[in-house]
Symmetry: C2
Subunit: 393 residues, 2 copies
């Protein structure tokens, strides 16, 4: 696909068809401020680009039956969500429905060359399964800050070897299609906005608790990335004055007290100190512990595991309470790998926020788990590239 | 003035003339995406409304000399900035230049009826001085959260009697012109954006430290008010876990540890404990102390006053460090009454933020004092109403 919309009207029509699915010319006309004749011209031009196709006639609304229009069903986007310890790759159609989705363990510290080899291999498998012949565009999420206009990771703390790597340029050549790159947390927010719990919400926060911790910020329906692309980087906000030393050189950072990595460390320590038979047994079996083990132990009623999750949720809530007062969001979404900890975590976060933020900011504030799980990131990635391609060049 | 722009093009032209001053048709054409003939039509229509007037011929750019256009020099806006302990009222022209400005002490706790009587009296004085015959619109700032669409204060903690008072409706009748109401901190941000230190900055924070403490948030050049109008309400973010009891019922809130009110309390205590001869002398003379006394004592080299300011700045910096990591602003402005404390305060705030935020967020972050002082709020108020009037109805 090389065609792009020629103007803002066409861009709007493409996004309406993406978000609302097939639609009649008459119904599209109800949603845009265009005269009937102008609308007809723009739709005809879009049909000419091949981005949209005619799809039969709509049911009559009283007069002549209107033509149905939809995005070209042959369009394919690739959504890639690179986490610290695994990678998700999915194929979507232009309406961002996930047609196929692969997940594989992977260590982001192996560096961009090794990781992209794996991504290309996974994309190849999705193609071989008949889900796509090629890709019209791809969105890529990486677990660190990104200089958005250039698609380049900057100073990513958990990603040695990625600093300044031209992700956009390299993958665009390898895949032969346009690429957009963003922080994984922003993509999760966009995914939940497109197809998850944040549909139709204009101003919200989406906190991802995985190996690290970050926050997607959506203002007026658009991701806010900050001046240097590091907005939402909340893992190093101070949660505990004079608290644990953090890899960043400060003490008491949120990530040092709660994240997938911190929780795993705490769990190993608790197991070794004999505080939890459940965790000790799991440590002996597998030689290591992760957040998944803590979740399982908590589900089995292990008091230490439950206490670790509650304490972590309280730290997260302490930091988020301040951000809720500051940002006054309409919705707060909690997602990421650690949401396996589920409602115990959510309850602790909620309690702390409701206790510590002003009633005016929390009065109507839903605090909920994300709905899409691992699909959020890849859906957000597809949305990122579609936002780009469905905008005037 | 009843005319409003008929469309987005006219609105854009009005704002260009407001922010850039008189301009030739040719130069305006360089700044908007309109054909020459379309531009001529829109300018002629604006001339017809009386919102803009012709103003002679511009210097030649090689061909025929272009007509100069400016906003009607007879337009008058009223800017009102109601603080906790004083009120500022100013008259501006349509380019938001302050033509006259009055300040009077006033206690916001006297309630809206008494305060507006005083505001109307001050507006009358400005009229009597020949600065305005009437007002084409007025912007009003109040020291608390505002339900923006309706122009009604909500649950204002320091403003008993104001909750739900229909400020917009009542003042609109009294003044006989359109009114917009906003939080005083947002207006300060808009003032610094229009004519102060934040000109041309898209994403910035503007922290006002007065009797209380609050933060204006500007995203993409527009004030972000949050879902219920309480965005930027940072006075009750926890600065000191388990710290001082706060009027809101929690402990350790920023406002309990540093604000004009907290600083005055601390100063009185220090004077009474014999820690500061300078403050003790001032307390004996006037029977009370304010931030102004602390500033004067600090200027005179009083160690206790300096320590109070530094400690306060550190608390402010602790909270702002987290918000800088979260929001990644291009600029952080510190303003409000307490800026009389000047560079001692600023240095403490800066030190804490640079120490505690990530380098990616602080690398290019200027942290500066506001430039406009008491003019910021009234200028922002005039800008608020002009944004409203210079938008399509």
């Amino acid at each position: 696909m090389t065609a792009r919309p020629a103007n803002a009207h066409q861009a709007r029509l493409l996004k309406l068809l993406r978000d609302g699915g097939p639609n009649s010319r008459a119904q599209l006309g109800d949603q845009v401020e265009l005269s009937r004749s102008k609308l007809a011209v723009e739709v005809d031009r879009l049909l000419g680009t091949g981005l949209v196709v005619a799809d039969g006639l709509a049911a009559s609304r009283g007069g002549r039956r209107s033509q149905n229009i939809r995005l070209n069903p042959g369009l394919r986007f690739l959504g890639v969500d690179i986490g610290a310890t695994s990678v998700d790759v999915a194929v979507t159609n232009a309406e961002l429905e996930v047609l196929g989705h692969l997940n594989q363990p992977m260590d982001v510290r192996e560096g961009p060359v090794a990781v992209f080899e794996q991504v290309l291999d996974m994309a190849g498998k999705l193609k071989a399964a008949g889900l796509a012949e090629g890709f019209d565009g791809a969105g890529i999420g990486v677990p660190g800050p990104v200089r958005f206009p250039e698609g380049v990771p900057v100073a990513p703390p958990i990603m040695p070897g990625w600093d300044g790597f031209p992700v956009r340029e390299v993958l665009s050549q390898e895949l032969g299609c346009p690429i957009m790159v963003d922080n994984d947390v922003n993509l999760m927010a966009m995914g939940e906005q497109h197809a998850g719990v944040a549909r139709s919400v204009a101003d919200f926060l989406c906190v991802k608790i995985g190996t690290g911790i970050g926050c997607g910020i959506v203002v007026g329906g658009r991701v806010y990335r900050g001046t240097t692309g590091s907005a939402g980087d909340i893992g190093h906000i101070q949660a505990v004055p004079g608290g644990r030393p953090c890899a960043c050189g400060n003490r008491g950072c949120l990530e040092a007290h709660f994240s997938g990595a911190a929780l795993a460390r705490d769990a190993v320590q608790a197991a070794q100190q004999g505080l939890s038979p459940e965790l000790a047994a799991r440590l002996e079996t597998s030689g290591t512990l992760t957040a998944v083990d803590v979740a399982a132990a908590a589900t089995a009623g292990d008091a230490t595991a439950l206490a670790l999750i509650r304490e972590g949720g309280t730290h997260v809530g302490q930091v988020l309470a301040g951000l809720v007062s500051f940002f006054n969001p309409a919705l707060l979404v909690i997602g990421g790998g650690v949401t396996g900890l589920g409602h115990t975590l959510l309850a602790a976060v909620r309690t702390q926020i409701y206790r510590q933020s002003l009633p005016l900011a929390t009065g109507n504030l839903p605090i909920v788990l994300g709905e899409l799980g691992p699909t959020a990131g890849v859906t957000g990635a597809a949305r990122l590239i579609s936002d780009h391609l469905f905008s005037p060049a």
